[in-house]
């Protein structure tokens, strides 16, 4: 059976052929509503229950990024081949004039071996002239194919959800090359690192840290189970930026706590040390720089690590895809084992 959502979040069920005609009715009812859209935002998942989850995600994301949202849940293993669709709108009262600003959402449940349906439902329902941002959730499957990815402008992924990160990465890079470097990759995991990157940059604005940068050479990162990818990307970035090789003995990954990243320690000769920590539930990172008997402390924003905030933030910032792939090459060379959950090694 096709996943049959009952949650009202998905709106009214509509025959696929009637979607284009039904969408305007969402607006006709209320004069105080105005439609807004800056992009097409497609979210694809093969996980059960993803439509409701992603509808809630869109509800948050549209606060900052008005869009035409297209949610697709695929269940390729289902017997019956069919496509069901629902339409709704996410509205917020905007500051000026008390008008509701609304983003349209079309949700599709595709079951069975309807391989072509994904491409078709996406392309048939795009708003013209606006870019296509595609959030591919989880591992790339057979449906990740050239007719689809060659038309994407920005690809959002969350590398922490990949069962075999290095293999997935290779697949994504191959598609990127095949598309003529057409799409920009936005990894949500990269956003999780952002507050720590910002804090680290702040640390090295100080004379104390700057003067001792060359004495530092060992890195230890503490991350929650399942977030080794995040930690590894961060380590790779630090090594790249500082010009360090970070030999195996100089990089330590500790799996502990609930925050994707909760602690960064750089160690060097003598008492030279940089420590950035995030206490459980805290809103701010605390950084300490110690060297030559001196100590400096700093506080900086910790950001939020819920998916909606991360996606929103990620969409607000540009992406440097060549650098991203370069960092991954380093991560791949380290031959780390990535566990999806604590103690459960992923197949290499």
């Amino acid at each position: 059976m096709t996943e049959a959502p009952t949650a009202p979040a998905l709106g009214q069920e509509t025959p696929v052929s009637a979607i284009a005609a039904s969408l305007p009715a969402l607006w006709a009812a209320d004069e105080a509503m105005t439609k807004a859209s800056l992009m097409n935002f497609a979210v694809y998942s093969e996980q059960p229950g993803s439509l409701e989850r992603n509808s809630r995600l869109i509800e948050e994301v549209v606060r900052e990024h008005a869009c035409r949202a297209i949610l697709i849940a695929a269940q390729p293993s289902e017997e019956e081949a069919r496509v069901r669709a629902w339409i709704t709108a996410h509205c917020l009262v905007s500051g000026a004039g008390g008008k509701s600003v609304c983003s349209e959402q079309i949700a599709f449940a595709i079951s069975g071996r309807l391989g072509d349906a994904l491409r078709n439902v996406v392309f048939a329902h795009l708003e013209s002239d606006l870019p296509l941002v595609f959030f591919w959730q989880g591992d790339f499957s057979d449906r990740w194919e050239p007719h689809l990815y060659r038309r994407i402008d920005r690809l959002v992924v969350d590398s922490t959800t990949w069962t075999n990160p290095v293999r997935q990465l290779k697949r994504m890079r191959a598609a990127w090359r095949d598309s003529g470097s057409r799409f920009v990759v936005l990894d949500v995991a990269w956003m999780r690192i952002f507050p720590f990157r910002q804090a680290l940059a702040g640390v090295f604005d100080t004379a104390l840290a700057k003067a001792n940068l060359c004495r530092l050479h060992a890195l230890s990162l503490t991350h929650a189970p399942g977030h080794r990818v995040t930690a590894a990307l961060f380590a790779s970035w630090i090594a790249y930026k500082a010009g360090w090789s970070l030999e195996a003995s100089e990089r330590v990954f500790v799996e502990e706590g609930e925050a994707p990243l909760s602690r960064l320690e750089l160690r060097g000769e003598g008492d030279c040390r940089v420590l950035i920590t995030l206490e459980p539930g805290a809103r701010f990172l605390h950084a300490t720089i110690r060297a030559g008997g001196q100590e400096v402390t700093q506080v900086s924003p910790a950001g939020r690590d819920d998916l909606a905030t991360l996606v929103s933030e990620r969409l607000s910032r540009g992406g440097n895809t060549p650098l991203y792939f370069k960092l991954w090459r380093q991560v791949a060379a380290w031959k780390l084992r990535f566990a999806m959950t604590a103690g459960e090694p992923a197949p290499e």
Partner: protein, 515 residues
């Protein structure tokens, strides 16, 4: 292990897509004042909260009252809690406040500057790297000269160890051309022009910056942006309040022309009228703006002023459902005042592009709404096809809403559905609030960051300010120095200004846009 040479701070790259503000010490002269409490500290706090402020930035609060750093921090905390764009977080404030140091001194006391120099050296040493200093003149303009002279005497106008020293100057920059030149000369004797940042907070507004983007990043507007297609342009800055909060004392000496037109409105006009710059560097943009200001046609006689400029004062009336007193009955306003709180004018820019296109500017207090908008009124399509239809509302109008409800709209004509050929104006509307949910940073946040990054694009250059004054001065002289000054028009508070302002446009067969 280390394998490559380390640049300055390798981890700073790519964190933001803008010029990175450099670590420095910000010295605020007049740190117990209104501007510092209400605008500067909240701007700095919000920048820090967004992670945009260099973490090693220190703030030296320079003022004369005996106070400790702990006391000023507590006072700032109280106002920040009321003013901050993103609210006030005690935990974050506790870290932020450590950046603030109070330095007690009279502006005229040389020892105060010597000790300031020692304090700055200590802060530089603690931070390391070059001694970058950003001075902010947040005091009354009467004090600027004294402060600058002392900065020079103590050598604080130079950065230390390869660093820079910059000065931010608040408005008003003079009250006429002569005083502006005097002030600019005083500043120039102490700081190079490239280190001088004259604040005009209108330039820090998102929509003011969007004028350049709309004009030059879209290929469809620039070909039409000239006398062949544009009939006229209107710039309105309406305020729906009067002399609240004791502002009468300052305002009655300045008036609307000096307070708003000389700086903010002429800045907006120059952005609308300028030629495309060769690049987006500060000087390229400002070179073009100043050319537009220089081409403003000056009024050469009292008569010309009377023909082209309307000044007015509000009488008692009603605003927002409240009774409002007349201007001369306002607190701290001279009951015989001859100061204008409303100005409307028609100006021309004598360039190839704008020959014959009038720019109508109006600004006033106690008008029905708070709104700053620029509207570009295009010429009507030839009458051949639709001559039987009424002409009113038939032209295309492109509107930049600077505040509030920032955005851009375009009025076009569309056919009303039905068998008859009927047209109605329809509006295509882009609203920042709708399209970009994220609120914009306040103007002062952007401008402080730009000054730390050494980007002067959004600050007024000396020649811009002085050219603006040379346009304003003849009007002030006609009003205040001639034997037969043009009349002072009147309007009830809460209305759209004096009838004389409407007549100014009606004489040209035009009318003010409805806002």
């Amino acid at each position: 292990m280390l394998t490559a040479e380390i640049p300055d701070n390798p981890f700073r790259d790519e964190l933001a897509t803008r010029q990175t503000p450099e670590p420095c010490t910000l010295v605020i002269f007049g740190a117990t004042g209104d501007l510092t409490h209400k605008l500067l500290i909240p701007a700095l706090y919000n920048l820090a909260l967004d992670g945009e402020l260099p973490p090693t930035l220190k703030i030296v609060a320079f003022a004369r009252r005996p106070k400790t750093s702990a006391e000023i921090r507590a006072e700032y905390a109280a106002t920040n809690a009321r003013q901050s764009r993103q609210g006030h977080n005690d935990e974050f404030w506790d870290g932020f406040r450590e950046r603030i140091v109070y330095h007690r001194s009279e502006f005229g006391d040389p020892e105060g500057y010597a000790s300031l120099g020692r304090l700055l050296d200590e802060l530089d040493a603690a931070r390391g790297g070059p001694g970058n200093r950003l001075f902010y003149l947040a005091s009354a303009p009467d004090n600027f000269e004294e402060i600058l002279a002392h900065l020079k005497q103590t050598g604080l106008n130079e950065g230390r160890g390869g660093g820079w020293a910059r000065i931010i100057v608040e408005k008003p920059i003079g009250k006429d051309l002569a005083s502006a030149q005097r002030l600019n000369n005083t500043v120039a004797a102490v700081f190079d022009e490239r280190n001088t940042y004259r604040i005009d907070h209108y330039l820090g507004k998102e929509t003011a910056q969007n004028i350049i983007v709309t004009r030059f990043a879209n290929s469809i507007f620039e070909p039409l942006w000239n006398r062949n297609y544009i009939d006229h342009i209107q710039i309105t800055c309406a305020e729906n309040f009067g002399m609240t909060g004791g502002r009468g004392a300052y305002y009655d000496k300045a008036g609307a022309l000096r307070d708003m037109v000389q700086n903010h409105l002429l800045q907006l006009l120059s952005l609308i009228a300028m030629e495309p710059p060769t690049d987006l560097s500060a000087d390229s943009v400002r070179d073009e703006k100043v050319k537009a200001l220089r081409a403003l046609r000056k009024f050469n006689s009292v008569d010309e002023v009377a023909q082209n400029v309307v000044r007015g004062q509000y009488l008692a009336g009603s605003v927002d459902g409240q009774a409002a007193v007349g201007y001369r009955d306002e607190e701290r306003v001279d009951p015989q005042s001859r100061t204008e709180c409303y100005v409307a004018m028609r100006v021309y820019i004598d360039t190839w592009r704008w020959q014959g296109v009038p720019f109508y500017i109006r600004v006033g207090k106690q008008l029905p709404k708070k709104a700053t908008e620029i509207s570009v009124h295009f010429r009507r399509a030839p009458h051949v096809l639709f001559q039987t239809l009424p002409a009113r509302g038939r032209s295309n109008v492109l509107v930049f809403r600077i505040q509030p409800d920032e955005g851009v709209s375009l009025r076009m004509l569309g056919k009303v559905p039905g068998l008859a050929m009927r047209m109605e104006p329809v509006k295509m509307d882009f609203r920042y609030a709708t399209s970009f949910g994220k609120p914009s940073p306040f103007a002062y946040e952007r401008l402080l960051l730009d000054a730390m990054a050494g980007d002067a694009t959004l600050f007024a250059r000396r020649d811009e300010v002085e050219n603006a004054w040379s346009f304003i001065d003849p009007i002030e002289r006609a009003w205040h120095e001639s034997g037969q000054p043009p009349l002072m028009a009147e309007y009830p508070a809460g209305s759209w200004g004096p009838a004389e302002a409407d007549e100014l446009l009606e004489r040209d067969g035009r009318s003010w846009r409805r806002i």
